[in-house]
Amino acid sequence: MSSKFNKELQILVRDNVISPEISSKIEKYYANKAEGKPNSLFMIFGVFGALLIGSGIILMLAHNWDDFSRLTKTILAFVPLVIGQAMAGFSILKNKSNTWKEASGTFLFFSVGASISLVSQIYNIPGELGSFLLTWVVLCLPLIYLLRSHAVTLLVIVTSTYYAVQVGVWDYRCHATPWLYLIFLLGVIPHYWNILKRNVSGNAVTIFNWILPISVVVALSAFVGNGDVLGFVMYIIMFGLLYNIGRLSIFKELRTLRNGFLIIGSLGSVICLMIFTFRWIWEDVPDQFNYDAQEVYTTIVLAIVTLSVLGYATFKKGIRSINLFQIAFIIFGLVYFLLSSTGIIPIILMNLLVFALGMSAIRIGANKFNFGILNFGLLIISILIICRFFDTGMSFVIRGILFVLVGAGFFLTNYIMLKKQKVKKQ
């Protein structure tokens, strides 16, 4: 227990708020509670230690020592691997603490990478970085379940995202689609689901709540081909999916900041839709839809998945629980595919949609007494107005009045809510 807490207890006793007996009772209660818990600080340092040592070994091997013979290098390639395996095996066999498993798993992850990288250096194996990362992930993915390790899960997610982007975006010679990324993602999800069910507001879950959406958002770029505008459509659907996942009832108890799906989903939707409030992007939309077949299929699959999550939410909680952020991608899709060649209409509709999203965020914020969401809504509306500053022929007087109105809106809404909150507290 922290010494700060003990000090507070002493102050409470001194000021006659609680009696010394109660103080010692409280102390005992927390001491007992802490006993059952593993020392999370120790675990974090263990993982960081293994992380640093493991990546240090990779860097040292990347020096490509010329003075060693091929045999010496080959033996060196296996030493860290065998040590890592021995440690991980020991922690499984003896059923050691999580700290052991996390640290040995992390170390083993890096030693697998070190050993395949050293072998490819020895023989100048031509494999591009993409195929190296692929082998690495395949060899380490099962560790997630054998060691039940969060750290290995995290490393697998990061490495497979790196693989997806490397293969699909950065490789200048040929862009392949990293389909295996999807398999890796499916391989990670059962572990995530397990810890989600056990303790939704645990720190590990929070980390995955952020890292998983970030990973899919980054990796989606590898699935977007050359049809740039359809790429936006895919992203808007993807953000809709993330938002809908974040709204599932399993995350209901979660504080907003711990729900990366919700935050990334709403931010992403608003940013992408904001782009479509400009005139120039609609001029890029082709009159005839002749896209790359693969892109179209990916978009369709993504849309089906998103609609089913939305359908599930509607079925479970009723249509009244659905907010505008959840269905923004449908509205956008209808406008994009049906009305894109009707001149000014889609631009007006998109402006209305973003404005409505802003209003909807303000309403959600006001209902939940959450100043963050409320001001997010106000921010959406102000950015929309600032954007319109550039590409409309509105007179300066009208623009000026609009700005004053929004500014006044900021003050008023926050003020009203503050008042309401005070009334509620009394």
């Binding site: 990347a62 100048n124 970085l129 060899l139």
Partner: protein, 182 residues
């Protein structure tokens, strides 16, 4: 009981983890011991791989073949059949998308560009890992060799067997590049 199963699973995984690099070693050693060696004229330049360190990228003189066949497209995997010229350097005998019934050794390559009368491609053994302090010197040494007119003396030693290849060393002026830069 459960621990035992997990442990057995782990042992299986550990064996696969050891087997993967061992198989890579075995395949490459096999080519080095029983493959045929060829000399490919080349030009080294120096980039970095984040995990495997410094290497020199080789740009081979053999990188295109004159053909009027218009069925090749960018990204095609092709077989480049090779033979030795009178100076003992590798030259192209034929390229093909399908296996040909000839005795020549071949390497697998990827088409990088298609011109109306010519196909350019990239040979698979274009990375040569070097000690990090030497990779840049290697590029400089090559530039010097180029100036001195000994350019014909820069080549890669490549072992080839059944279409698989191992880049064994890079030779400048009859010296392995590691010694040449020292």
């Amino acid at each position: 009981m459960k621990t035992t199963y997990i442990f057995i699973g782990f042992i299986a995984l550990a064996l696969v983890q050891i087997f993967a690099p061992l198989k890579m070693i075995y395949d490459n050693e096999d080519i080095l011991t029983s493959g045929t060696v060829y000399k490919f004229k080349t030009r080294p330049i120096d980039p970095t791989d984040p995990f495997r360190g410094k290497y020199v990228t080789l740009q081979f003189q053999i990188n295109s073949f004159a053909t009027s066949d218009s069925t090749y497209v960018k990204g095609d995997k092709i077989r480049v059949y090779i033979e030795n010229d009178e100076d003992g350097f590798a030259k192209i005998y034929q390229i093909s998308k399908e296996p040909l019934d000839i005795k020549n050794d071949y390497v697998k390559a990827q088409v990088t560009y298609v011109y109306p009368d010519r196909v350019t491609f990239e040979l698979p053994f274009n990375r040569f890992y070097m000690e990090e302090t030497k990779a840049y010197d290697a590029e400089k040494a090559y530039a010097k060799a180029n100036r001195d007119g000994v350019i014909d003396n820069v080549y890669a030693l490549v072992y080839i067997k059944n279409g698989q290849s191992v880049l064994d060393n890079l030779i400048i002026d009859n010296m392995p590049i590691q010694e040449y830069v020292e």
